[in-house]
């Protein structure tokens, strides 16, 4: 089960955070700060998997952003890495040549895309067209 999805910058700013486990609002920034600190301490060639408290963190760096997914023990870590890549590809399909500024200004759309892909910590849909269909429909009606 996926515990959370975070998109953080190198400086530690949160661009997007979505939690699938009950966690206090006040604890969230602490968690994010801790996670990014550990990730930044690692060299580029190293393993993308980290052990953090009682779950695992899978992360990948795209330009200046870190896409981070926290999973628990029964998830396949390598498949989660693929999931991260799928998320990035979907966002890229929605906003061609997406940059992190785009991500920042359209944060609610990003949330909606993520909602179509992952629900309650599990993957719902992996086909990019199907994921983007409701969003594009909503956009066209505005």
């Amino acid at each position: 089960m996926i515990k959370f999805v975070l998109i953080l910058t190198k400086q530690g700013q949160t661009r997007l955070s979505h939690y699938y486990m009950p966690i206090e609002l006040t604890e969230r920034p602490t968690l994010e700060a801790d996670v990014i600190r550990r990730i930044l301490a690692r060299a580029p060639g190293q393993c993308s998997f980290l052990d953090y408290e009682d779950y695992k963190i899978v992360y990948r760096r795209y330009l200046a952003l870190y896409f981070i997914i926290g999973i628990d023990d029964d998830e396949n870590e390598v498949a989660t890495l693929e999931l991260i890549h799928l998320i990035v590809e979907t966002i890229d399909k929605y906003i061609p040549k997406v940059t992190d500024l785009d991500l920042m200004y359209n944060v609610e759309k990003m949330h909606m895309i993520l909602d179509e892909m992952i629900m309650n910590g599990r993957v719902v849909e992996t086909c990019k067209n199907k994921i983007l269909a409701p969003i594009q429909l909503m956009d066209s009606q505005r």
């Binding site: 949160t14 997007l16 955070s17 979505h18 699938y20 009950p22 609002l25 969230r28 920034p29 690692r42 060299a43 060639g45 190293q46 393993c47 993308s48 998997f49 980290l50 052990d51 029964d74 396949n76 870590e77 390598v78 498949a79 890495l81 693929e82 999931l83 799928l86 920042m104 200004y105 944060v107 609610e108 949330h111 909606m112 909602d115 629900m119 309650n120 599990r122 993957v123 719902v124 849909e125 992996t126 086909c127 067209n129 199907k130 409701p134 429909l137 909503m138 009606q141 505005r142």
Partner: protein, 855 residues
Amino acid sequence: MSVLQALEEKLSKMPAPIRLKDLIRNIRAARTAADERSVVQKELAQIRDLFRDEDSVYRCRNVAKVLYIHMLGYAAHFGQLECLKLIASPRFTDKRIGYLGATLLLDERHDVHLLMTNSMKNDMNHNTQYVVGLSLSCLGSICSPEMSRDLAGEVEKLLKTSNAYIKKKAALCAVRITRKVPELMEMFIPSVRSLLNDKNHGVQLTAVCLVHEMCERSPDTLLHFRKLVPNLVRILKNLIMSGYSPEHDVSGVSDPFLQVKVLQLLRVLGRKDPDASEAMNDILAQVATNTETSKNVGNAILYETVLTIMDINSESGLRVLAVNILGRFLLNNDKNIRYVALNTLLKTVQADMNAVQRHRSTILDCLKDSDISIKKRSVELCFALINASNVRTMVKELIFFLDKADPEFKSYTSSNIFTACDRYSPNKRWHIDTMMRVLTAAGNYVPDDSVSSLIQMISETGSLQAYIVQQLYKALKDDISQQPLAQVSLWCIGEFGDMLVAGVVDEEEPIQVSEDDILDLGESLMNATSSSQVTKEYALLAMVKLSARFSPQSLERIKKIVIPYSQSMDMELQQRSVEFGALINTYNHMRAGLLERMPPMEKKDTDKVNNGELTDEQLESREISIPSTQNESKGLLDILGDGDFTAPVNNQPNKSEPMSSGGELLDLLGGLDLSAPPTVAPTIQPMGAPLNSVPNLMDGLDALQPMTTTTTATMNLMNQNTDLLGGLTNNIGAPSIPPIMAVDKDGLKVEFNFEKEGSAPHVVNITLKATNSTTNPFSSFIFQAAVPKTFQLQLMSPSGDLVPPNNSGAITQLIKVANPQNANLRMRYKFSYSTGGSTVSDQGEVNTFPANMFT
């Protein structure tokens, strides 16, 4: 004023709230954190006002801003109610933001979410699939048990629609409901099969999720869903066989996510079930061989396949395939793959140790990797792989690793190296060398009990002590700041200081160490700030011990070192110093005796016997191992596994039991008698007397010891061997005390022969000889004795239990009596035997002992 002007004025007083984009831009423009905070607070205040004004036009924009601000970390609870209002609105954009806000801001712990239930129910019956989808998503993310109960019916209805978009969301909703309220699981079971057969991958994916969750919750459902294995196998097959499908293709592999999920479910279904595993073997082999390994995707699928193969009852060929795949992973350049391989090998090493041994060298290489995750996994794996044949190389590598390791690894590694050495070390010298090396490498991170176990080991190996103390002295001279090393070295120097000064060790060049050098070292240790209190205590003790071993000139120096600590602020040091000072000054005559070299210490082994107390497992093994034969004393000894007892039935070398443990024996016997009569029965039964009569005999007298033979044997398993056999065999020669006839009845004659034991004047060995003058043999002959409290009695095991007829042979038994108070001996006896089909038993007293027995 014109109308237009008035309008403009009015409008300018109420500016439209800024868009989210603009807010973000403003926040970004803020240079400092204080700036940003002020921007945010201003905006929040404005939004709060607007919410109070119930502005429905711009509400969604405001809530979006609240969500963004909340994500940055500011408190935004007041947005929760607004989300509810948005959900109730008919506009889609409002609903969208409302549901998003609800998912982000609310969870089941807040009571506010209950207010959403009605809106959600309405939305689930909406015409537009997207609205339905919205409410399902929200329900699936945050619902509580109460909400689940309310809306489960709706969800189940939606599971049956034909719309794939709704079906997949409803399935995941069902997952959450199952988790929150397991009883509702049964509602969803019928729809599962049709869900799995759906063409849409999304629906299949979520259906697999649902089945997985249900199987985890209830074992009955697991059994029910085992029937689905063929369906799942078919799905996998379609995925692999079908050609390129643009929709779900990821780098050439069709829908890897679905494949991985199906494999996971197969794992859960196939576990511990041979039939299901049988059905999966083919498809697993196919997946394993057909998947491309060049891309990460392929590796993800292979990883899941390997996990599944290891978990189910797969055939051996498949297991070999899996381990080979893991081996290939280990050699992969990608760190992630190597990590994954190490992780899986760790899980499988228990089951398939040999297969993993082949990759040992690669795993040892991984130890040197810079990545901490990989290092951790490979260390654990290395320890699991150590066995008697490869222990030297492995430990060598591990010690290199220990040298460069982070502190968190050091304690883990060093404690494991100790355990491994304990179990597999080829000889003592290597063992001790390794331990010393670990002490120097690991420094202060060594676990606490290693110091004492190392000391215990050193005290046992007498031959190497000179070598050890030299090595430790050298090591300590180099570096006095490592506490465990210092403690062990100080103890050794204290004990074996004279060997160090003598300086002769074979195979090593002798180093010249003078007494002053050693005392210098000791003094520096005591004064060093890096020494802990325990180390200082060790040092004090070592100094004092050396005073007994070194020449008298050093005594003055030692006094000067030790005495000042009698004013130390530290209580432990002060106490020791005062005591040692007294020892040196006032009680000088006792000093040498007190400070003698310590005897080898015993290992505290938990499954052996200590101090005459039987452990639980010993008691159990006694009960279990009692065969039905009467003469089971030998049998018990064998079963208790002591290889030393190779003696035939006649002359059992018994361990000497300390005389004073009679009381404990009695307690144990009492316990055994009461709790497990069969254990004691074999010897007592032939007496025919009930068990209860035994205590009567003991009234006023000391311990009756019917089972002395067996109990002594079990009591004294690992303790010292004293040579009773010598006592037994040599003494039936010419006794200096005349023998007496103890019993003469019905053909049974029992004669007591006496012999003094040389070392102790008040101990006499009585050899009992039983003969049979009738024509029938006496079988199951048992003789028991009891003496007054002032004496101590020890009854050894008899030579047998059959007294041959017509005086053709005899049974001998040794009785040891100690008479510390020099009183007159009286003995009560009881014997029993069977002859000609009937049992005879009798008891009596012997007081015809010669008066000069103990003089």
